[in-house]
């Protein structure tokens, strides 16, 4: 009796509601499965919820979110040259993971520590990809955990094949200088590394040399430069740029009271490997990242609590605007038409690089991005 009643109600329901049993199925494509559109800029950041957010620069909206496999740590982020793979520094800076941007799948990992050898190793944003995307380079800092003491070992430069899958082993490793905090790949395959000096690395020959003295630079009447290099951006301007603050003394007495304090930049052109070390402005405000315009390397933009546009040759401020809060990381669209500010809370601010007018703010899902890297990349 009950079965007949249920069948009757169901049939009546279909008839009177006008519903068809052949209704199209709802679109079941999951957000993480969305493919990137070709020849379009995307913005990538990693949040404290261990999620990688991809923002579409055209709609200026969140396009997709990938749940990451490793554990969150303030994320260094490097995109493969074709924009299809994101490499993220995770596990308390103990590993680099690779993720397919079209499927969110974890396709690669390189872990620096070894439980068997009782070695704990970390990397401070020191990783990058070669120009065809087939090799990943890292510098890690290992410590041997003895039962009663820690033994600081030599830092290691390692080369991994990016198609080696998860838990990849390096194909080559050699000793690296201490205190490396970022790597960048030049057009000819040279790796530049920033630490106490600017280093030039031939990865396959295992050869490292100082490309420019920094801690012991020989600039007359200058103090040692103070630098903070944690954001591996600059690819869209084809540069590896690290800003410095230094005291410029009046004479050899090095009196700090009469010194001028200046901002300057160590800029390596990744096309030519030419290195420039030059001041670009008086020290007036604090900045954490800077980048030159992709179409005019004389224009430098720096950010923290304000956004400032500098004329490097004239060593002067062109324009400065206050920001609604701190932003640690600056980056440009690939064509230089938009300036993005990120690495703070869960926001990305968009500015016009010509006028420094604010164009928009993109609010991401909950989860701060800390001081992680914000990359702008083009999907090819």
């Amino acid at each position: 009796m009950n079965k007949i009643l249920i069948l009757t109600i169901t049939l009546f329901g279909i008839v009177f509601s006008g519903c068809s049993t052949k209704q199209p199925m709802p679109n079941t494509t999951k957000m993480e499965d969305l493919s990137l559109k070709k020849d379009r800029d995307y913005i990538a950041v990693v949040s404290k919820k261990n999620e990688l957010h991809i923002v579409d620069s055209k709609t200026q909206k969140l396009y997709k979110t990938c749940k990451l496999a490793g554990h969150y740590s303030t994320a260094g982020l490097i995109m493969s040259p074709d924009g299809n793979t994101a490499y993220v520094l995770q596990d308390a800076w103990g590993a680099v993971y690779g993720y397919d941007m079209n499927t969110c799948e974890n396709t690669f990992s390189a872990k620096f520590s070894s439980k068997e050898k009782k070695i704990k190793a970390r990397s401070v944003m020191s990783f990058n990809i070669n120009n065809d995307g087939k090799e990943l380079y890292t510098v890690s800092n290992p410590v041997k955990l003895h039962s009663d003491s820690y033994e600081v070992m030599d830092p290691i430069f390692s080369i991994y094949k990016t198609d080696a899958g998860v838990n990849a082993s390096p194909i080559k490793s050699f000793k690296a200088p201490r205190q490396i905090t970022m790597l960048s790949t030049a057009k000819d395959g040279t790796i530049f590394a920033i630490g106490a000096n600017l280093y030039k690395i031939d990865p396959h020959a295992g050869k490292i040399e100082i490309a420019a003295d920094l801690r012991h630079w020989k600039r007359e009447n200058y103090s040692v430069p103070d630098m903070l290099a944690l954001w591996p951006v600059g690819k869209n301007s084809n540069e590896f740029l690290i800003m410095y603050i230094a005291a410029k003394f009046k004479d050899a007495s090095q009196n700090p009271d009469t010194a001028d304090y200046v901002w300057g930049a160590v800029r390596t052109d990744l096309e030519t490997n030419n290195i420039e070390i030059s001041d670009f402005a008086p020290l007036e405000t604090v900045m954490f990242t800077g980048m030159t315009h992709p179409n005019d390397s004389n224009l430098l933009y720096g950010v923290l609590t304000d956004l400032t546009k500098f004329d490097r040759k004239e060593q002067k401020v062109i324009k400065r605007v206050d920001l609604d809060h701190s932003y640690y990381c600056i980056n440009f669209s690939t064509d230089g038409s938009k300036l993005y500010l990120g690495a703070a809370l869960n926001k990305i601010a968009i500015y016009d690089p010509e006028t420094l007018e604010k164009l928009n703010t993109i609010v991401l899902p909950e989860g701060d991005v800390g001081i992680g890297t914000m990359q702008v990349f083009r999907s090819k």
Binding site: K48, T74, A92, V124, Q179, T181, L228, G367, I371
Partner: protein, 106 residues
């Protein structure tokens, strides 16, 4: 170094090492790139051997400064205490949930 006066025993050791010509041994210990991140604590200096790169109290950005550790005041760093802020992804909303850290029980 003549412009600086050591304020703690480790700084005093550094001062003595300069006089004794053993400064390089001390510098070797300064292989920080993040203090607890490489388990080489003690020399609270930044990557360039100074303090200007350290987060200062006026830059009290909880997550910006706790995460990579260059932090000279009493705040946990998630390199050593990875779970400290894992349930508090939003500093503005969740800061009240942040508490002390305790020894990890294996």
């Amino acid at each position: 170094m003549g412009l600086f006066k050591p304020l703690n025993p480790k700084a005093d050791l550094l001062n003595k090492s300069i006089k004794e010509g053993t400064q390089k041994e001390v510098m070797a210990m300064q292989s920080i790139v993040g203090c607890t991140s490489t388990f080489d604590p003690g020399w609270e200096v930044d990557a360039f051997g100074g303090v200007a790169g350290l987060c200062q109290p006026m830059e009290a950005d909880l997550y910006g400064c706790s995460d990579p550790c260059w932090w000279p005041t009493q705040i946990p760093d998630i390199m050593s205490n990875s779970k400290w802020s894992q349930n508090s992804p939003s500093a503005m909303k969740d800061w009240k949930q942040l508490t002390s850290t305790y020894p990890i029980e294996e």
